[in-house]
């Protein structure tokens, strides 16, 4: 069972890496943003495989369904903004620096062994956590999201 899960996670990881590379390498930004939606969906599938189907559903509905769609629509309307200049060396250097630092920290701290397949949990447990101990944080998120909406409308209308 764990072997099959490992294979599925490996396949999903490969697909995620290919899609992520397409997001940053595609010449057309519309295709890149569509690939980002695919990346979010694949990530949700992987999270569901890890034992968190509720989080996966939330990612698909809120992140892919709202945020990424917003990006796709905006880029489709505005276009890509002209020819891109690439600085391959700087990107490669930053990428290697980040990966090696994170790898060293993870090996030294042992955090790469943190994942254990979760025991069964229900949506009522999550809602107890959200509406119990973290209710103030939930309230702050609601206020922040409402403020964000107003802020975004204000910024977008400013030049009119």
């Amino acid at each position: 069972m764990a072997g099959q899960l490992g294979l599925e996670i490996g396949i999903m990881g490969g697909l995620l890496a290919v899609t992520a590379y397409y997001v940053i390498a595609a010449r057309d930004l519309v295709y890149a943003s569509v690939a980002l939606a695919l990346l979010g969906s694949l990530n949700a599938a992987l999270i569901a495989l890890l034992g968190y189907p509720i989080v996966a559903a939330f990612v698909v509905i809120v992140y892919v369904g709202a945020a990424v769609m917003f990006i796709i629509i905006t880029i489709s309307m505005l276009g890509g903004g002209g020819q891109e200049k690439r600085e391959e060396f700087r990107g490669m250097f930053t990428s290697l620096a980040l990966a090696s630092t994170a790898f060293t920290v993870a090996v030294l701290s042992g955090i790469y062994l943190a994942y254990k397949p979760p025991n069964t949990y229900s949506i009522s447990q999550i809602s107890q956590v959200l509406a119990g101990r973290y209710l103030p944080a939930l309230g702050v998120v609601f206020i922040a999201l409402a403020a964000t909406l107003v802020e975004a409308i204000t910024i977008a209308r400013r030049a009119e």
Binding site: A17, G91, M92, V129, A144, A152
Partner: protein, 102 residues
């Protein structure tokens, strides 16, 4: 495959995504491409976050929901800022920002 190998596999996937995203952020000057690359890094962070807090599944799920909500709000604000910038600069190139604004 045991739980430790599974855990390491998830970690490697997350780290690979973060590295690809960092490459995207550092290698281009197009602000929209930078936003897309940051979103790749966010996907990596979400994956690693879920895996790292898996000892407390309900807490992990609740925090992930917070994370997705906040990032979705951030995306909307950043896109609004980029639209406002595009109206002024007629481009998404970040060079003019580095030179002191448009």
């Amino acid at each position: 495959m045991n739980a430790e190998a599974l855990s390491a596999e998830v970690f490697v996937i997350g780290l690979t995504l973060a590295a690809i995203g960092a490459y995207g952020v550092a290698s281009t000057r197009n602000l929209l491409r930078i936003l897309l690359s940051i979103e790749v890094i966010f996907n990596s962070v979400l994956l690693l976050f879920v895996a790292a807090l898996s000892a407390l599944p309900a807490l992990s799920a609740a925090f992930s929901i917070f994370l997705v909500s906040v990032v979705s709000a951030e995306v909307i604000v950043v896109v609004a800022v980029l639209v406002a910038y595009y109206r002024v600069a007629r481009s998404f190139d970040s060079t003019s920002l580095e030179e002191g604004g448009v």
